[in-house]
Symmetry: D3
Subunit: 225 residues, 6 copies
């Protein structure tokens, strides 16, 4: 009932896109947690509703890590199409997809395709952690922001009773990773972290986080045509 | 990494199935919240992992209520098939689908079909709130357990600052509902609640809840072949 | 040409949904025969046309019984969607799906979804044998109406030169059946019958049948909005 | 149970493919009736089982004739694939698809594709009425064997209380038909018959029929590798 | 930009359909080359645009010949549907599909289905090499026009440095081919040619070619309603 | 036959991925031409076969430019999956997808997913024009390599009798482009070029081209695991 009142004066809505997958020493839900939280922190002050994060996405390369379910590409695309169709049918017109997982990039292609079929709708697909702005801020903190390392290590993604390794992990061999099947990926990654420092002080990661929240909020405010 | 240790000694896993949809004066996420929570309360003491609840399902009849996204049936079926395939590929063999939404029943059909194609896997599809046992317990409390009324009204599904109507809502006209399109459903349901008392004392609903948790736990313990 | 005249004054049509599958000592086509016949007996006096029964449905649990073809869920759903779309495009507006097989329940979910996408159409999905009314009448006759037992044993579903066992079959172990793969189902069911008496006198089953026909006719007459 | 005994010594099975569609003055089920009957007459003497005819196929050009439901091509293909997969899984290895409708030709393409993916299966797709042999025999009877004319007019496809026009219908304008949408098809065809004589004496059509049955039987006997 | 000017005065467009597959001693791209070239020679004098040939089609029977990729039927159908939808959305209304491969026949079924769903569009599906007219002309030249033999042997489909066998290949055993899996097809075909003369003088094949081009041009000029 | 000999000693193959779409003053086939040509120049010296370029891809944003057909994402993904499956079934094991169009990025996701399901296959997805190496070289030539400007302007993509504008086009408003529907894209782009110089001297673009060819060749030689 609250949404009906809202729709009388606004038509923006946020759909966070996550993934459930290995994140080294962090929660399997890291990407979902971050996408959901960055959305809520950005949208709540504006009164824009945030849908529940979609906790399953595209992560076939992690197939040899248990607890990393992956959808087929077609399924993921149809899922997003159905969600957009359905929410659009209920009156929303401006959709911000806040993505938390690198493998989900085809969601951006779907957003473009879907938008091309609607005269009255706009969709912004935004991968919150890898925008120019957030990456620039992250690199001020440390040169290697990456999967499951300090860059995703926040109070809200850490697991209780898990101790992290000290030091830095050597860089991932990207060329080998490119043609690695699940078993080879498993072997290449070991503990699942790609590279770099496992953890940094919260006041440093907090600055990156804040940049991410600010950018999402600005998109919500002024990213539309 | 914890899941790999787990898989050395066990192969059970729980996938809660929810829906995001109007629930009268309760949270849009009621079905998801309940499926997730009943799963966690049942599984944690056994050490069985619970995947994130799937927050989107089949609810086409509520298309005229904003905030009730619905998937097409094919999409939902493929989504579940992909999840089962993927998790199965990672070593799990006994799957308990804990369903929180009446519209999701085809997930049970998919479970049967999927299981028929796997020699080494078992799937139990369990709609936690409408088993004989939970319904019997519920009817001891009140004759009309139903959508969005006291039966789904728990401390964890109530919204802050929402006051519920007093008294009982008259019964839904089931024959009219059967052939109602979204607009007619909207009109028939008004505030979205089907019928009966909006709220009962927590100690009464707690008994129903406890029965639900117990049954899920027993299925996890002894529902397998 | 006759249908065009009909459409000038009416827009109802019946689509019977069957299945081809093992029925113990009865015809593989039992579900189709019953759905088709109950439809014809109900609809002909009203002049409402009945489409040919769809003889293939969802019966994955019987995969180890030869002669029990089963469709994938997505295929079945798309098949029904296409049929409804096509017939709707030819002028029909009120569709009664008369279902004869328990596994086909997702057809009801599809009916709901399809109807939600059409402003001018109504679909009733009716599983003729398991309505409250028919089951109540059946239980007056015998406490165990079930798959392939007396409940489906009519002059029009019996096979020539097949002799039925005497006595009652012990009840199916439902908990075991729930997690049984095709081979285990085969073993659990033996001759294919679920439980109870194989045969009852025709004057008893005739009463059940008559109730089924009456209910379908009443739905055709007054089930619409 | 009879099929299990059969499979101990044989692995052939027949699936008739029909269509429900306008046939001028003949039954809407003409294609289904003929495919089913020609299959039964050919297979029964050999003891080869015949599945129920699939009564829905591809007939988009008749969309403006009520009672002519048509499936989308993808749906039809998936339906056939599922049926073949399922029956193959139950032990059959040699499949004869007896087709009764011109629009269903893509079933032959699917048969080829499906067979290419199975080492141990053979599929023959046979459109019974348009083989060289049957057409040759038909043209001995009359030069214009065609849709809904004498060529499909048998005691088992005629409707009671329907009187046929006398004389011959002028030939269909094939070039116009080629680019006609449903409304134009409707206009071009008028009563639905393509061209030629509406009816011929049964002893003449019987000869064509007999040729069709013989050919199907010979395929069943000696069409395999 | 040129197409926008064109659309101001015309709405015809040609889509050639090819296949990449073994053609004995000729190019793997023979079907594509011929479909593209016959389209261009026919359309250019009329100023009608020709889209790039679709070089992949349906050729499952050649699965044991490397370099013969084949699409699943559903994929091919959806691909064509998308192309027609997309081009139609850009203003074209009369589509000529010029097909160069026997296995692609279901494209004609799709064309019919697609056209039935559009009020304002016409599609002609034309398999250029097997029209009555082209085959008649071909048979004047030689009695066995066939796959990969002289009938497809043109200066533009020959491979450099490949010498052809002399003489005629004996006829293909069509009955064996009908039920042959990929390995058996491989064995039956040997060098991939079906039968007959490998090569004829260019002035003879040129006459066939000219007939093919003429027919395509006439369809473009006067095949529409 | 040549491919069979090749497969005895090698298992690499190249599939170029193109698009047919507006390219300002250049050929509609620019992306296809470039992907095909860069593949051939790289692969021929190594004797690695190159399949025909797939000339249709994902370009929904250009829907208002005639001659820019776009596939739905699901269709494109299934098309690629079928091609990989089919070619893999014919003996190839190392696949290089050389992509020429920005919209086709989901092909890379499919490549990853497909590879994860094959133990013995490797797929490299390489967008030839936007690798770090090629972009670095391009930026040495001019700061704005972009769609349809000098960066794609080669002797083999220019149209006869088309004169290009002089000077530089002002930069595209990326924020506006992000939420633009087809009509707005049309308006934003005008002649279709994104920004920058329309043309540069061939000796400058030739250096970029050479870098692209070299990189593809090196991937073919040493990009595998």
């Amino acid at each position: 009932m609250q949404l009906e009142e809202y729709l009388a004066g606004d038509d923006r809505i946020v759909l966070p896109l996550g993934s459930t997958e290995q994140h080294g020493y962090l929660s399997l839900g890291t990407d979902s947690i971050l996408a959901q939280r960055v959305s809520l922190e950005a949208a709540e002050p504006l009164g824009v509703p945030v849908l529940p994060v979609l906790p399953y996405g595209l992560t076939p390369a992690f197939a040899a890590f248990p607890g990393s379910p992956s959808l087929r590409l077609e399924t993921y695309v149809e899922l997003l199409r159905d969600l957009l169709d359905s929410i659009h049918g209920q009156g929303f017109r401006r959709f911000l997809l806040v993505n938390g997982h690198g493998g989900n990039m085809p969601a951006g292609s779907l957003a473009r395709e879907w938008m091309a079929g609607q005269r009255d709708a706009q969709v912004i697909f935004h991968s919150w952690w890898c925008s120019d702005r957030v990456l620039a801020r992250a690199r001020e903190v440390d040169t290697e922001p990456s999967h499951a390392n300090w860059f995703e290590n926040f109070p809200w993604t850490r697991l209780p009773e898990v101790t992290l390794p000290e030091g830095r992990k050597p860089p991932l061999d990207q060329a080998a990773y490119r043609v690695a099947g699940p078993a080879e990926v498993r072997e290449l990654l070991g503990d699942g972290v790609f590279q770099g420092a496992y953890e940094l002080p919260d006041e440093q990661t907090e600055r990156v986080w804040r940049t991410g929240v600010d950018e999402v909020r600005e998109l919500l405010e002024s990213g539309w045509r």
